[in-house]
């Protein structure tokens, strides 16, 4: 065995804390190590070239690179050693940056630890054997979960590239949060005007299938071959017959909360969220329907000209296969009422959320765009906006910035002046103004100067009603004094959360999420739309709060990643999977019992004699069977028991 060890300086990232030259020198004393070097940046072109040269000159058959995390550069170096003719799996990374130099200050201790980490990697690399990938056929259909602007953009890009796309949307229409917005910053163009044509494109595109009022129930399989169970929720209306005429909605006698209008006004038990809904189909909220609750009514059934109402409808599970999945589950608005008791917990009528105000401003909203005080219907003379409600506030468990509120508040402030007149007093309470996008800062300036919106730097401490007004009490930190404003209307710039159910969906997809339910990207900088599960990609606010331009950009990025993935006809599978040594198998079948993927099967090796066999293309390489097999006759390639034990032993050698 001829092992080469390369201890990376990573500039000063590693060399600043670890004496890399000394460690490389010492590595030469290890058994089988015939070459050791300490390149400045091993991942750089000269760095990789020096590794390849050493492989050829020193006839290395195993390589250890001690550098950053394998999550960072394992793929890079596997490709590098492969380029020099070595099997890429005869390579091991020792993580002496993230796990050593970056977390220690004591140079001597860090150097000693790096030395041990390298010894462990050498111990492991000795146990490695060449591995070879298999190729599997891939399904080229794509699932897009979520029909907001992110899902729409991704679906259209994918469909235009010639791939068949299914959009699964939990509401009865696509459109998402953007469909609720009035205007968009900083251009003040109408949200519906730019979105609805794209919604229609989705409905009409020959490569797109819309599955609205559906949810993902179960996901199995792996990149290139996912099997997804989709729950088609019972709308109690046969959508093949429904023509979206809304007669049922007009005649329905039962009121129900209107999610689309954020609870401003009620809708009916049978409803169509908004006039431009795609598909424009009615559904019954059974919890509010008189027929379902009281066993009387059936008005909708009688008035429907298409005979579409079907009270017997049941949820259906539809199974489909996909090669890749784009998650675009979007966002939810922070429920400020539950947290901000100092703002009246939602009991003060003239205190509303930003999204509610958006519906109020909207010409197709419940008030036809008439801005008024919910308490008495009068046009407000003084409007106060409060930023960072449910953002940058650790006391409510939301330390992050929701990224869009500064801008949408400015937009709404401008629109207030536009709707109610320039003489309307408009105040914005803010902590900082974050206006980093193209044209954003200029927009804020315009709102402040041209429209005369008064920005007050400080937090609002209390909102309360007095003499028919909402008293806004806060502090102006620039002047260092208390401020009190008697407002007619207060709009809270409530922050953004991950959509309800995002965490549960992430669990079904085996992808990571953070403590707030935002889905985790593969790498914050280099793999922003990938996830750690191959074949699953992210688009939009499900990953983190972001505005429409960023959402659309990410959706297109995710689509292009999918196109790249599915451009191949076959996919290479990881060879780091479980393999059964059948001569030692005692046919106890515990492996079959525990495998999450049903990869092991009973294989008849001689008539009547069965042994376990792992199906290569099904195995995902988790190793649960390996730890369960009592005879240890299953080995996990790349993570064999001996490789693990040798690392443990090496780490403990005195």
């Amino acid at each position: 065995m001829r092992i080469g060890v390369f201890v990376c300086h990573c500039g000063t990232n590693i060399a600043g804390t670890v004496d890399v030259a000394a460690v490389a020198e010492r590595a030469l004393t290890l058994k089988d190590v015939v070459h050791a070097d300490h390149p400045m940046y091993s991942c750089s072109e000269p760095g990789q070239a020096s590794i390849q040269a050493a492989i050829k000159e020193k006839k290395l058959d195993r390589v250890v690179v001690a550098a950053c995390s394998p999550h960072m550069h394992e793929v890079t170096f596997r490709r590098c050693v492969e380029g020099a003719g070595l099997n890429p799996y005869l390579f091991e990374m020792a993580n002496i940056r993230e796990h050593c130099s970056w977390i220690h200050d004591d140079k001597q201790a860090a150097t000693e630890k790096a030395w041990e980490i390298i010894r462990m990697a050498v111990a492991k690399v000795r146990q490695l054997e060449p591995l070879y990938s298999h190729e599997v056929e891939i399904n080229k259909d794509v699932l897009v979960i979520g029909g907001g602007v992110a899902g729409i953009q991704a679906a259209l890009d994918l469909a235009d590239a010639g791939l068949k796309v299914t959009i699964v949307e939990k509401e009865t229409t696509i459109g998402g949060v953007m469909a609720k917005l009035d205007k968009t910053f900083p251009t003040i163009d109408c949200s519906a005007c730019i979105l609805t044509p794209r919604m229609v494109d989705c409905a009409q595109h020959e490569n797109i299938e819309l599955m609205t009022y559906c949810e993902v129930e179960k996901v199995s399989g792996y990149v290139g071959n996912f099997t997804v169970d989709i729950r088609k929720k019972a709308a109690m209306v046969d959508w093949d017959k429904c023509i979206g005429c809304e007669i049922c909605v007009q005649k329905c006698p039962a009121k129900a909360p209107d999610k689309f209008n954020v609870g401003l006004e009620p809708t009916k038990a049978i409803y169509i969220p908004f006039p431009q809904a795609v598909p424009k189909r009615a559904a019954i909220q059974v919890d509010y329907c008189r027929w379902f609750q009281q066993g009387k009514c059936r008005v909708c059934e009688r008035v429907c000209p298409a005979g579409a109402v079907d009270y017997e409808q049941k949820d259906q599970i539809i199974q489909k296969r996909f090669g890749a999945i784009v998650v675009a589950t979007g966002l939810e608005v922070f429920p400020w009422e539950q947290y901000y008791h100092e703002y009246g917990s939602g009991k003060i009528k003239d205190v509303i959320s930003g999204l509610q105000y958006e519906r109020m401003l909207n010409a197709s909203g419940p008030y036809g765009g008439h801005v008024h005080r919910p308490s008495n219907g009068e046009e407000p003379k003084t409007v106060v906006f409060v930023q960072c409600v449910g953002s940058r506030d650790e006391s409510v468990g939301r330390p992050y910035c929701s990224s869009v509120c500064c801008m949408y508040t400015a937009k709404q402030a401008l629109l207030t002046k536009d709707h109610c007149g320039m003489d309307t007093e408009v105040y914005v309470f803010y902590i900082d103004i974050r206006a980093t996008g193209k044209g954003y800062e200029e927009f804020i300036k315009r709102v402040q100067t041209e429209f005369g919106v008064k920005y007050v730097r400080g937090r609002v401490s209390k909102l309360y009603e007095e003499n028919g007004k909402v008293i806004v009490r806060g502090i102006d930190t620039l002047l260092g004094e208390q401020v009190e404003i008697a407002a007619d209307l207060v709009v809270l710039a409530s922050g953004i959360m991950a959509a309800e159910g995002a965490k549960e969906l992430a669990q079904k997809l085996n992808i990571s999420y953070d403590e707030f339910g935002f889905l985790k990207e593969g790498h914050p900088k280099l793999r922003p739309v990938d996830t750690n599960t191959a074949g699953v990609f992210l688009a939009g606010a499900c990953q983190a709060p972001k505005d429409i331009p960023a959402t659309v950009a990410q959706a297109s990025a995710a689509a292009s990643k999918v196109v790249g993935l599915l451009a191949k006809d076959k996919l290479k599978t990881s060879p780091m999977i479980a393999v059964v040594d059948q001569k030692n198998c005692v046919s106890c079948w515990k492996c079959i019992e525990v495998c999450p993927f049903s990869a092991p099967e009973k294989q008849e090796v001689r008539p009547g004699e069965f042994k376990s066999h792992v199906i290569e293309t099904v195995c995902q390489g988790c190793g649960v069977c390996v730890a369960t097999c009592p005879v240890n006759c299953i080995s996990l390639k790349g993570f064999t028991t001996d490789a693990i034990l040798d690392q443990i032993e090496e780490a403990l050698l005195v």
Binding site: R97, E112, V624
Partner: protein, 137 residues
């Protein structure tokens, strides 16, 4: 002569806790240098005997960490694992190895700070007991 520093073997899953330790590194969350990590794909891959083997070979502590329940990259590995680790913890104590020397927990890929906390606390607990010398296992 000063006591030798304690040596702890950490066995972590690739997707969550190894990545969580990476996140801790990226965030420069400082930690004591006593832990040596062995990367495995999933906590389900971990045979509790690895921990016993580590004690046999002289480890002063063993730390096992993986994805939070519900978050397993392979959906189910950690559900099997937590049953095994719970028994392992109890049996290790039955062998006269103090409970404080064996810890198993969950740290996700985004929990860099939590990783720092887990390592710091565990190392402190093991240091309190000191190095293990001349034991039956």
């Amino acid at each position: 002569m000063a006591e030798r520093p304690v040596k702890i073997i950490g066995i972590v899953c690739n997707w969550c806790s190894y990545a969580g330790a990476d996140t801790a590194g990226v965030g420069r969350y400082k930690q004591p240098p006593n832990v040596r990590l062995v990367r495995v794909p999933c906590t389900g891959r971990i045979d509790p005997l690895f921990a016993l083997k580590a004690f046999e070979k002289g480890a002063d502590g063993v730390l096992i960490s993986g994805c939070h329940p519900g978050d397993c990259h392979y959906s189910e590995g950690n559900y099997y694992a937590r049953r095994k680790f719970e028994l392992a913890e109890r049996m290790i104590h039955h062998l006269g190895i103090p409970k404080e020397r064996f810890r198993w927990t969950w740290v996700s890929a985004s929990e860099g700070q939590r990783w720092q906390q887990v390592v710091t606390e565990f190392v402190a607990a093991v240091e309190k007991l000191g190095p293990r010398e001349g034991r039956a296992l």
